[in-house]
Subunit: 411 residues, 2 copies
């Protein structure tokens, strides 16, 4: 079964909003063995919506539209799609209206006429009940092809996909199988990994192979499309074995696994604990580590010591180090890592100190310079690197480097 996603909203076309909905939807559709071949975005413009819908229905079995179902005048999707399916007449759905009233009451908010109008639905559409919001989803059918219309609010869209759309799609799509497997590596360049896995034709006997480079990782993805689930799974396993045999030493995880999750598993295995001292990463390392459910088992604390005074007071960094070498130095990174480990009484301590930018750099210590310190039961050491000028990208890369250094130490 094939599907196409059309995202509606001027905010997408002017780049105000990143289209995370389309990515989430295609992931879920793939898990339901539905192949997404096209995704597109158009503005809140009747003609563009109609044309995109028409093209999509000409080449795809299920078309999913999101966005433009809100209460304000700029939300035109319902009207346009109803017109496309010759169902321009809207009728008041009393059950939906009662549901909207109840939602407003629960939040102690006064209801307005535009909220009431959200309960108007096209006669020919099936209502997809929206527990979480005021805009119901809609399902249209024509010549055995389907069109689903969902609100653009992520939580509401996800709820409707999980509870209404995916069960419906699965009931219509019984034979196809799609399997993906992603193997995550780091410490190896994309072209070198490619070489290690060559001849690729050998590997592609099992399925389609893709290489995906990131900041500090290169992923290899295997995709198998088959009409037999057992065959698909056997191919995935064979490809995985091929890759692990040739590049296993670079593999740190699978699928959406992250270095912070891998660290968590290793710390639990070693019954070890961790504390973090951050300067330039400003809390991002702690944020990433605590994104992992269950991190309270090993993550004791993080201290963001932005001021020099905080470094001295909280981490026992000697004032002489700050005076002689400055905060961005090997000595300070080591003192911070050692300090956070001692203060917290944890097995490991890591620390970051650098210049995230865009200002604050000098010739000797330019923007993008970072020192990462690591303290283990056996030793304290630091490593430096030089990245780019962008503050937010630097924070990401600095944090990735700190986590990588710890990971290697734990592995």
């Amino acid at each position: 079964m094939t599907a196409e996603i059309i995202s509606i909203g001027d905010e997408l076309l002017i780049g105000q909003v990143v289209n995370t909905n389309a990515a989430w939807m295609s992931r879920q559709l793939n898990l339901a063995d539905v192949q997404v071949r096209h995704m597109s975005a158009v503005g809140d413009n009747a003609e563009d919506i109609r044309q995109s819908l028409d093209l999509a229905l000409s080449r795809t079995e299920v078309v999913l539209l999101t966005g433009g179902l809100g209460p304000t005048h700029d939300d035109i999707t319902k009207k346009v799609v109803a017109g496309y399916f010759d169902s321009a007449e809207l009728v008041m759905d009393e059950k939906v209206l009662a549901h909207i009233r109840a939602l407003f009451q629960r939040r102690n908010l006064r209801m307005t006429p535009v909220n009431e109008a959200q309960a108007l639905v096209p006669k020919k559409a099936t209502v997809l009940w929206n527990d979480y919001g005021t805009a119901p989803g809609l399902l249209f059918e024509r010549n055995g092809r389907y069109c689903v219309v969902l609100p653009g609010v992520p939580a509401e869209m996800q709820h409707l996909m999980n509870e209404r759309v995916l069960p419906f799609v699965k009931s219509k799509n019984k034979n196809a199988t799609i399997r993906h497997r992603t193997i995550r590596t780091f410490g190896v360049a994309e072209s070198h990994l490619f070489e290690k896995l060559s001849p690729i034709a050998e590997l592609e006997k099992f399925g389609k192979i893709a290489f995906l480079p990131h900041y500090a990782a290169v992923d290899v993805r295997i995709s198998v499309y088959s009409d037999d689930a057992r065959d698909a799974e056997a191919r995935i396993r064979a490809a995985e074995e091929y890759i692990l045999a040739r590049a296993g030493e670079h593999v740190f995880g699978f699928e959406n696994d992250t270095i912070e999750a891998a660290i968590g598993r290793l710390l639990i295995e070693k019954k070890a604990t961790l504390a973090v001292a951050e300067s330039c990463t400003g809390g991002l390392v702690a944020h990433r580590l605590t994104n992992i459910s269950g991190s309270s088992q090993y993550f004791d604390r993080g201290i963001v010591t932005y001021s020099n005074a905080a470094k001295v007071q909280m981490l026992d960094v000697p004032e002489e180090i700050l005076q002689q070498h400055g905060a961005v130095s090997e000595e300070c990174a080591k003192a911070m890592a050692d300090g956070i480990r001692r203060v917290s009484g944890t097995t490991y301590g890591i620390a970051t100190t650098g210049i995230a930018g865009p200002t604050g750099g000098s010739e000797e210590k330019p923007v993008g310079l970072v020192w990462v310190g690591v303290a283990t039961p056996d030793r304290v050491f630091a490593q430096k690197a030089l990245f780019a000028k962008d503050r937010l990208v630097n924070k990401e890369r600095f944090s990735q480097m700190a986590l990588n250094l710890l990971y290697r130490e734990l592995k």
Copy 2:
């Protein structure tokens, strides 16, 4: 001038990667007065790439493709587009080859044959020199319409857009003007804001108006398309005045302004300082505050006290509070906010304690419960809220609530 963006890569269609490139590109094109009317994504599939390109060139003046220029076998964009423009013959560009060699030398990496092949370019294309990577950009022209091909690596794509594509586009697009203005509000529901600004027809005399609800904010955006820059700017100003006169008390910023940036401005204005104590947000509040360039002027430190021991040791939270009320309580939130303020000697302190989930909840203290504490020179108080089940969404909402509470206190 109109443009269309086509993003290429199976990773987009299976939802493995969110398409941030398309959002960034459309934002830059809008700033160059180019209207993006369609964005689409297709897989690494020759037929789908050709069809999308053909449709785009039939309705748009500039088509921008990204992705699929890497060194590995799954990158087919260059070959397909060259074929589409009857330029299948690739020739070795010696300058590009020398550049790739130099890049590998600088990084101390061995070059492989697939890297060399990146210097092969279609005869009919203009090379867009890529300082940052091994894949050059390409520019094709046919009947006064243009097709630009860029690598999908964000840093390289952005470099080529800024240095090569946007200057070219601007030189071809001298008369059009596009202006957007986004006004950010919070503390008011979307439908109520709509009512405050009604009749919308009055406001739409100036331009197109859109309402964009987020987690804890509702944006109003005005868009003006004109062939006269002064007229466009006057309309934007008039619409802004209309909105500020009717809903000014809810406005906290403009454009991409964030609550953390607004807090920073207020703290600088008051010559005040801030420290943060976090439990459930795990560093995210500090991370957001330190995303602001210059935050070292007012942000003193953040402490992520995940363990109870850390709360007692670092923040002077009385053990009796933890025993009697637990860590997720009004008393603990207040003690944490007060503690971080006293320990740091800052003007303000804020604290978060809650249950991010997905596990760790109880009937009395369910997943999604958060207490936020605020300590000012005058008082210490706390507020609670109950959000959803998703760990990462909860961390975002908890952090937004903490920043909102502080913002109101500062305003």
